[in-house]
Amino acid sequence: MLEASDLECERGGRRLFRALTFSVNSGEIVRVAGANGSGKTSLLRILCGLLTPSAGEVRWNGARIQSLKEEYARHVLYLGHAPAVKDELTGAENLRVACVLAGLSTTAQQTRDALARFGVPGDKPVRQLSQGQRRRAALARLSVSWQAPVWLLDEPFTALDAAAAELTRTLLGEHAQRGGSVVYSTHQDAGLHDSRVIEL
């Protein structure tokens, strides 16, 4: 279980949120909503350990994530604003590298299937793909990251067409059904059966 207690975040001298307490249990999908600049990205970065909160703490199964370090990282999939794919590498190479970095064991066939599911050509350098296809290449990680119980996704539906958005919704739903937890940010209702909405 992921727990956030009394979280406070200040960026550039401006307080984004304070006294934010919530928990995310297995099988829950939590949506982080709010206007631009309200701190959605900062909250997700705090939850994954990239950003240190001004006050408060995040715990994973009772232990502070700062003390768990890589042990916590193995349980988390974080997809930020940037697609985290290298232009020079192909979709398949990018996915393989991402999985190894995350400590996920995947086969070449699983990598190919994940990319095919999102309609991303696995053998083309990413620089030759459109923005939407790059986003799909990044989201293909969802198909091979079932081993990571916590998914933290920053605006996962941005730049996606209807089919890719539907596939993403399906994958998020499947992950929750498997007992995983999903925390994602979005400006509008993405049509998911959210367990809870955190309004910033």
């Binding site: 290298k86 590498l89 995350a102």
Partner: protein, 216 residues
């Protein structure tokens, strides 16, 4: 895997690798043209000039060490990776050395031909670069991580890193000078080796700490 990825990216962006190597060759070749063809003078300045050229060439490619990963978001994935960040930083520094340091080691004896260096000194020069250039990559990694995302980071990087490069430069160039004076350069080479061990042991962890600060 990080090393494999870095080499793959470098192979597909050959111009970046060639730029640093060409810079080394051009800078080292300009001195004989500017100073004149006086063999004794050229022999005397050769170790220092070649080492300074190697140092500047290595620094030229430092800016890209983490900048591209920072821009495309892959750095976040490394920071959140399953492997300790220090190990990833060490792999990045090793890949940087393979791409920008090792070619200098290979080409330095050819460049040294212009300085009429004794044939027996080519080995000492190459060995000093072989021991010294990884230290440049390791120390440079700390500077590159600290200046990540900072406006005017290139100048700041040079200000941060160049003073730390001085001992490597002194020992590297000194080993060739001592060998050319017939005193043997083993002492300097051993110190360079010690510097490499210390840098390999500590620099990746300092780089990791700097990367964590920069990714906040």
């Amino acid at each position: 895997m990080v090393v494999w990825r870095e080499l793959l990216v470098a192979m597909r962006r050959r111009s970046d690798v060639a730029t640093a190597l060409l810079f080394f060759v051009i800078v080292a070749s300009l001195f004989p043209l500017g100073i004149g063809a006086e063999p004794n003078k050229l022999r005397a300045i050769a170790p220092g000039v070649i080492w300074v050229s190697a140092l500047l060439s290595s620094m030229l490619s430092l800016g890209r060490l983490f900048a591209a990963d920072h821009a495309d978001g892959t750095l976040e994935q490394m920071v959140l990776g399953a492997a300790p960040l220090g190990v990833t930083a060490a792999a990045k520094a090793f890949a940087h050395w393979l791409v920008s340091g090792l070619p200098l080691v290979a080409i330095a004896p050819l460049v040294a031909l212009q300085y009429d260096l004794d044939a027996g000194l080519y080995g000492v020069l190459a060995l000093s670069l072989l021991l010294g250039t990884p230290v440049l990559s390791l120390i440079g990694g700390i500077g590159a991580a600290l200046t990540l995302g900072v406006r005017g980071g290139g100048v700041l990087l040079a200000l941060l890193v160049l003073p730390l490069y001085v001992p490597v430069l002194v020992m590297g160039a000194g080993s060739v000078e001592m060998a050319s004076a017939g005193l043997g350069g083993q002492g300097q080479l051993l110190i360079l080796g010690a510097m490499l061990i210390v840098a390999a042991a500590f620099a990746p962890w300092a780089t990791a700490a700097a990367l964590r600060i920069s990714s906040e």
